[in-house]
């Protein structure tokens, strides 16, 4: 059928490391309620509910079943889609496919995680092969430490340059009432923060947050007639998965999946000069070094030029192409929701509803999702 589809509403929870005031379904409901209110819709307006998280983080098997009351999925078409860190974007993309297929008009997409109910790193370790990688390259910190070391060595990227990413994103988070960490930091703070695994220090790395995010993807008819918000149209999307062993790829951090997905999505959206054509970008940057490297993978600068790009201020709020006005993943990371927050924040920018973190005159926005063994989901949204 290939119909147009747009994001017409978004809602998210307030994020904290421990949301002790709510249980899992209440947390999910908080985002769903905010999203429905943003759309001025009720559960009866929704055709389908798609949801995802990472189940080992909370230790609840099939939590989508428990969440039925919170999501309003009762007697509706409901699917659970989980792909690791990319989950939130996979669910958002599934929302696009559902509407574009012509079978559904109004799809509620939800990503969530309540990491304080479990132990994230314990859960994350179980993604790695028990024979070859679980004992040495499991979890995010060690993997990124190795990838970042290689990146620094190859292109002369400094720890100061990486620290500038944290300074920028944590500074932006001050403008985002939903962000988890809203205290600005300095380069010195980052460099002197406790080392986790060289060269990654505490303030280079994303936190663990409790939170949820929901968006509504709607058909052109619903978007034009019923939406109180300016629709953010899906212009392009692309997904790339990859081989499962992180240690097998050279220059891992530069992500061949991101490069490959960008190529497809840029072609589809007619992007030839990303730095000029995108007005804003939301990255799923698990650590500071990743954001620098992904400037390169996404064609914002040449290979190895990520350090210079952050030095130049291009990606600051006041720069040519602001990256992560929301504060990014370094400020908020509720894993199953994280990739969807990128899409939702990009949508809010297109809608002109990003409040104090709004970039002026956004027409085209880019969102990336990261997960699995360096997998990618890219979304390009566009205004009317």
């Amino acid at each position: 059928m290939a119909r147009k589809a747009a994001i017409i509403a978004a809602g998210q929870t307030y994020h904290k490391s421990k949301r002790r005031d709510v249980n899992i379904v209440e947390l999910i409901h908080e985002a769903v309620k905010a999203c429905l209110e943003d759309a001025q819709m009720g559960p009866k307006d929704i055709d389908a509910v798609l949801i995802g998280n990472m189940e080992h983080f909370e230790g609840v098997y099939n939590p989508d079943l428990w969440a039925v009351d919170a999501t309003g999925a009762l007697m509706k078409h409901a699917l659970k889609i989980t792909t690791g860190g990319t989950t939130g974007a996979s669910v958002a993309h599934a929302g696009y496919y559902h509407v574009a297929s012509g079978l559904f008009d109004c799809v509620l997409c939800i990503g969530w995680e309540k990491q304080s109910d479990g132990d994230t790193t314990a859960g994350l370790i179980f993604q790695s092969d028990p024979l070859f990688e679980r004992s040495n390259m499991a979890g995010a910190i060690g993997t990124f430490a190795l990838a970042a070391s290689e990146y620094m060595d190859r292109f002369g990227i400094s720890e100061e340059q990486a620290a500038k990413v944290a300074v920028k994103n944590r500074g932006n988070a001050v403008n985002n009432p939903y962000a988890h960490l809203r205290r600005p930091v300095t380069v010195q703070d980052v460099l002197t923060s406790p080392p986790l695994a060289h060269p990654i220090k505490l303030l280079d790395m994303c936190p663990t947050s409790d939170g949820a995010c929901a968006i509504i993807v709607a058909s052109e008819e619903v978007a034009r007639k019923k939406s109180p918000n300016k629709p953010a149209w899906f212009k392009a999307l692309a997904t790339r998965h990859d081989q499962p062993f992180n240690s097998d790829l050279p220059l891992l951090i530069n992500m061949r999946t991101l490069q490959s997905a960008a190529k497809e999505a840029y072609k589809q959206a007619g992007i030839t000069n990303p730095r000029k054509q995108f007005d804003v970008a939301e990255f799923y940057e698990p650590c500071t070094f990743a954001e620098l490297s992904w400037y390169e993978a996404l064609g914002f600068c040449e290979l190895g030029g990520g350090g210079k790009l952050i030095d130049s201020g291009v990606t600051e709020m006041t720069g040519e192409l602001p990256v992560n006005p929301s504060g990014g993943v370094i400020s908020t990371n509720c894993i199953g929701a994280t990739a969807m927050i990128r899409v939702a924040e990009a949508a809010l920018q297109v809608m002109g509803k990003a409040g104090a973190r709004q970039v002026d005159g956004v027409k085209t926005a880019l969102a990336t999702g990261f997960g699995g063994s360096f997998w990618t989901e890219i979304t390009i949204l566009e205004g009317n």
Partner: protein, 399 residues
């Protein structure tokens, strides 16, 4: 742009109680390469992939990270549907209808022998009110069986007949391991798991994988002379807390069927459908589910079975494969139903092929306690199947 989607190839690598010699990755490789060989297709010709598995069953966070090399997902779009395999087919169809893809590899895998199934199933119940009660899938099903049997005065002998039919049919099915010629009396003599469910009336954890290929209308005939079209699809989910539900009927299945029938233009399912493959995780479901599917009146499932109409040589064969009781793992079971139904339409079901011609077949999958989430697919071998997609959910009056 495709207005309809077809199943163009299927492959089962066979389920066993325990595939001790196979890693999950090997299991999936065997299945996917089997399908590719059958289709004469190269991995580079596969547009995108929907896999179905569960982190909890595999003991692996991001369970689809175990299999990218086996499913050929390098630098491809893959998504994991963490539910039932029938839903993965539905989602694969949606992805093709979106216009972005021309085909979709759909696969499901599980290796349940590596985990403790009642401990895993217990984690499905909320940690606050229900988990401490020790509930698992079998106990939830027992509560449902009791509610259904009490309401319609169904006897243990009648549910045992359903198990005997399933296991006896499964004896002819080379892809399952639990089949044997058996009587209802023998079923009743098996161990009581949770009253009224006996061991031979409950699904058995298993290891296995299966796969099928979906293709758009434009591409379908490139891969097969006889595509099986997905004429209708519908799914629905009901309440979570067992006490909130009327367990004596399958409301979500009824709704899912209604949507699938609407999309397929089916008005009289009992007359128009030639064959049914349903997910009988428990014997009583083979009585209860045909009622929800509109194949007989509420409470008449046992009479339908007793009439012989649902036997392999009957007018409306139900589960000539034996169904899930024959030995399929979770996730894989729903996809297996779709594969069996498609194979019956194409006359490719081998030993278990029914004699009557099959044009329209129904496949049903479910997951969750007492079948909370349900999915129904209506398949058609008729090339003239409606070319236009009708939404399974859109309300009347809406365009």
């Amino acid at each position: 742009m495709s207005n309809r989607v077809a199943i163009v190839g299927t492959f089962q690598s066979g389920c066993e109680r325990e595939k001790r010699g196979r890693h999950i990755t090997e299991l999936v490789y065997e299945t996917v390469s089997g399908l590719m060989k059958k289709l004469g297709m190269e991995m580079s010709q596969v547009d995108n992939i929907v896999s179905c598995s569960q982190d909890f069953l595999d003991g692996r966070t991001i369970s689809n990270r175990t299999i990218p090399e086996a499913e050929g997902a390098y630098l491809k779009s893959e998504a994991k549907l963490a539910g039932d395999g029938s839903q993965a087919v539905f989602y694969g169809m949606i992805r093709i209808l979106s216009g972005k893809y021309q085909n979709c590899l759909v696969l499901a895998h599980a290796k349940m022998s590596e985990g403790s199934q009642n401990v895993i199933a217990n984690a499905m119940f909320d940690p606050i009110y229900q988990r401490a009660l020790g509930l698992d899938e079998i106990i939830a099903a027992a509560l449902q069986a009791r509610a259904y049997m009490t309401r319609y005065k169904i006897t243990p002998e009648q549910t045992a007949e359903a198990a005997a039919k399933a296991l006896t049919s499964a004896a002819r099915n080379k892809n399952v391991f639990r089949g044997k010629k058996i009587s209802a009396k023998q079923v009743l003599a098996s161990k009581m798991l949770s009253s009224p469910i006996h061991e031979l009336e409950a699904f058995m954890p298993a290891d296995g994988a299966c796969a099928l290929m979906l293709a758009s209308e434009q591409q379908a005939f490139k891969w097969t002379k006889s595509p099986v079209w997905i004429a209708g699809a519908g799914s629905a989910i009901e309440q979570y807390y067992l006490g909130d539900r009327d367990l004596s009927s399958a409301a979500a299945l009824k709704e899912a069927a209604k949507r699938a029938y609407k999309m397929a233009g089916i008005r009289h399912p009992e007359k128009e459908i030639d064959l049914v493959e349903l997910s009988n995780y428990f014997s009583f479901q083979e009585l209860m589910y045909p009622e929800a599917l509109g194949l007989c009146a509420p409470g008449k499932g046992a009479a339908l079975l007793a009439s012989g109409k649902t036997m392999a040589d009957g007018k409306l064969p139900v589960n000539p494969s034996g169904g899930v009781l024959g030995g399929n793992p979770l996730c894989v079971s729903g996809l297996t139903r779709v594969i069996e139904a498609a194979d019956q339409i194409n006359g490719e079901a081998g030993n278990i092929q029914v004699k009557k011609p099959v044009k329209i077949a129904l496949a049903q999958g479910s997951y969750g306690p007492a079948g909370q989430s349900q999915c129904v697919l209506v398949l058609s071998g008729d090339a003239k199947v409606k070319a236009k997609v009708n939404s399974p959910v859109r309300k009347k009056g809406k365009k």
